[in-house]
């Protein structure tokens, strides 16, 4: 996969705490191609946001990248010196956070924050930077940008602020945007607008997106491919239509089965028994095996790796011919 923009290989993130070292990400590997939207789904605590933070180098102590590598357009970025990493952030990788109400500095006009970001990464003059800030505001759908540019964040609604945040992330035309639950804190009616804006801009600018969310609807509508995470690992990754319609991993099947539909009258939604293990008590072998309806002999002891046995890569022994002739679970 030489055309991959982002290559993540065996990325491992650990948090050193008083009660020992917790492994928040365990050998996570995936690629994002130029202009592609990769959705990352999973329950809270599955490692979605940590993956995003690790890629952009914003893991706060006591967390640290304990292994693996992150390559952007072929160059490693996970081991850069702080100053070199800072030049990558915002310039080549942008990031959007969950809560637009707290992402902006309340004491600075949005125009100042835009101009600051633009001038950090380009050689534009103050006037040219302001012109570009106006264009960006117009692009994210803020009406009368010449009036709004001198407003303070508190004078915007939540949805409008998230548009400003998107404009800020796009300031330097990054190749990749990491959107960490960009719509979770917003009203449902506003969510769709924000997703539309994000999708349109990234298509126009050819920007790749890593879209972290727990909203399958957003993924189905926006993403090209989707990675399903569980207990700090990617357990299944593939084209959206494929994974949503034909999930392979028993956990992914459970997730898809738990999505309500407007037309279906199937009675109760299905539910996965139990809950995701805490980071301090991840079971050996497959982390999902205690909850798995199809668990068999190797599951509690042998760790399944993400392998493309069939249509798309999955980390599950059920599909491993080495354990054949066991029947595949329906």
């Amino acid at each position: 996969m030489s055309e991959a923009l982002l290559e993540v290989r065996d990325l491992t993130v650990e948090f050193v705490t008083r009660r020992g070292t917790l492994r928040a990400l365990d050998r996570v590997s995936f690629d994002i191609r130029r202009g592609e939207v990769l959705g990352v789904v999973g329950e809270s605590g599955a490692g979605k946001s940590v993956t995003g933070s690790a890629v952009i180098g914003l893991i706060d102590p006591p967390g640290r990248i304990a292994g693996g590598e992150v390559r952007l357009a072929g160059e490693r970025v996970d081991n850069l010196a702080p100053e070199a990493l800072r030049r990558v952030r915002g310039k080549r990788i942008g990031m959007i956070f969950q809560d637009p109400l707290t992402s902006l500095n309340p004491l600075f006009r949005v125009g100042d924050q835009l101009v600051e970001t633009i001038r950090t990464h380009t050689t534009l003059s103050a006037t040219a930077a302001r012109k570009r800030a106006l264009d960006l505001l117009a692009e994210v759908g803020i009406s009368a940008p010449d009036k709004r540019i001198d407003s303070y964040p508190h004078q915007f609604s939540g949805g409008m602020r998230q548009r400003v945040v998107i404009a800020l992330a796009l300031c330097a035309e990054p190749e990749l945007i990491i959107a960490d639950e960009p719509t979770t804190a917003l009203d449902v009616s506003v969510q769709a607008q924000i997703i539309t804006v994000l999708k349109r801009l990234c298509r126009d600018h050819g920007t790749a997106v890593m879209l972290v969310t727990h909203d399958m609807g957003v993924i189905a509508e926006t993403a090209d491919r989707v990675a399903v995470m569980y207990a700090g690992r990617i357990i299944e990754i593939g084209a959206v239509a494929d994974v949503v319609k034909n999930p392979l991993h028993p956990y992914a099947k459970g997730l898809m089965g738990a999505i309500p539909t407007l037309t279906g009258h199937e009675g109760r939604l299905s539910q996965i028994p139990g809950s995701m293990p805490r980071l301090s008590a991840i079971p050996p072998g497959c982390p999902f095996n205690p909850r798995c309806p199809a668990a068999f002999a190797p599951c509690p002891s042998v760790r399944p790796d993400l392998t493309a046995y069939d249509r798309h890569p999955v980390a599950c022994h059920l599909y491993d011919p080495a354990y054949a002739p066991r029947e595949q679970a329906a």
Binding site: L58, R89, G90, N105, P106, L107, T120, H154
Partner: protein, 325 residues
């Protein structure tokens, strides 16, 4: 905005009235000024005569109302002890206290914020840790002990700086300043350090704590994600957010610096308002004491007005709401 300032001034006037009332009622218990003024040999008739001349035979409400009426025109009566108008006495002593307090406040806030920011940024550095430990000393040592310690080191042992008084002063109209002569400046050093030290440590610790808090906030993380240099984040984004709570506490603390320089002025025999008040207490000089306490109230009213205006400068979120009030 203008309405807001006018309202604050109106509230300030009420506060001053309340301060005057409380002060005035307490002074009925500090001793009999007539006994102090007349000495042992005075006859009862003489005492009664003086008492009625001063209005002290009148009932309390009448005395108070007369005080307020005169004070409103700037007349705080005649000092029992010195026999001169209190307003003149205060005007004479004011420059010494104001120069001392303003310089201390400046020293405490500038050095306090700078050290606080440093201690927050280099949280694990040796220097920052040392500064934090020293600040504990500043918070826990009483002011007079610091003053005496400074006098011992710099005036007695090293003989660099004078241990008392203002040195030579220059008159600019009615204002006498110690800022224009070498000996005046040298005399200021130790009192300013003494008076400002406690406030400095307090402001520093507060700045550090607030700064650490702000550095954990989402918009700082987002600024990092935008690739803004760390120094810019610290000194532009975080510092300004840090200043809002710091201004509140520091403002009130600085008010108390201006108002209660009494201890420092006593230690350094500084010819300011604090020393005037201490002498007045010993002599039950009610007009001087009352005027001093009203002055202290006035300082606090002005400082809190200044703090409110500083909020407006720092926090755009308040501008709309204040203008609307």
């Amino acid at each position: 905005m203008t309405a807001y300032i006018l309202r604050t001034i109106g509230q300030g006037a009420l506060v001053l009235l309340a301060v005057a009332f409380i002060a005035f009622s307490m002074f009925r218990f500090v001793g009999d000024p007539v006994a102090n003024m007349m000495g042992q040999e005075a006859t009862l008739a003489d005492r009664a005569e003086l008492s009625s001349r001063l209005g002290l035979d009148q009932p309390f409400p009448v005395q108070f109302l007369r005080f307020v009426r005169d004070a409103a025109t700037g007349d705080f009566g005649i000092s029992y002890r010195q026999g001169r108008p209190v307003a003149t006495l205060i005007a004479e002593r004011l420059p010494a206290t104001v120069e001392l307090a303003v310089l201390s406040a400046l020293f405490a806030s500038v050095a306090g914020v700078a050290l606080g920011v440093y201690a927050a940024i280099r949280r694990r550095g040796i220097v920052a840790q040392g500064v934090m430990m020293l600040s504990l000393v500043g918070v826990s040592l009483p002011t007079f002990l610091i003053g005496i310690g400074l006098i011992y080191v710099f005036a007695v042992e090293l003989r660099w700086l004078p241990s008392f008084g203002r040195g030579e002063t220059v008159r600019l109209g009615w204002w006498s300043t110690g800022l224009l002569t070498a000996s005046g400046l040298k005399s200021l050093v130790l009192p300013v350090l003494t008076l400002g030290f406690f406030q400095l440590t307090l402001i520093m610790r507060l700045t550090r704590a607030e700064m650490l808090e702000v550095m954990r906030s989402d918009f700082v993380r987002f600024a990092r994600a935008r690739g803004i240099p760390e120094r810019t984040i610290e000194l532009r984004h975080a510092l300004r957010n840090t200043m809002i709570p710091v201004v509140t506490v520091a403002g009130l603390q600085l008010g108390s610096v201006v108002a209660f320089a009494i201890v420092t002025e006593t230690v350094f025999q500084w010819p300011g308002l604090g020393a005037l008040f201490v002498n007045a207490v010993q002599f039950a000089d009610v007009p001087v004491m009352a005027a001093y306490l009203v002055f202290v109230g006035l300082v606090f009213v002005l400082v809190s007005l200044a703090v409110d205006l500083a909020y407006l400068a720092f926090d755009p979120r308040l501008r709309g709401t204040l203008a609307a009030r």
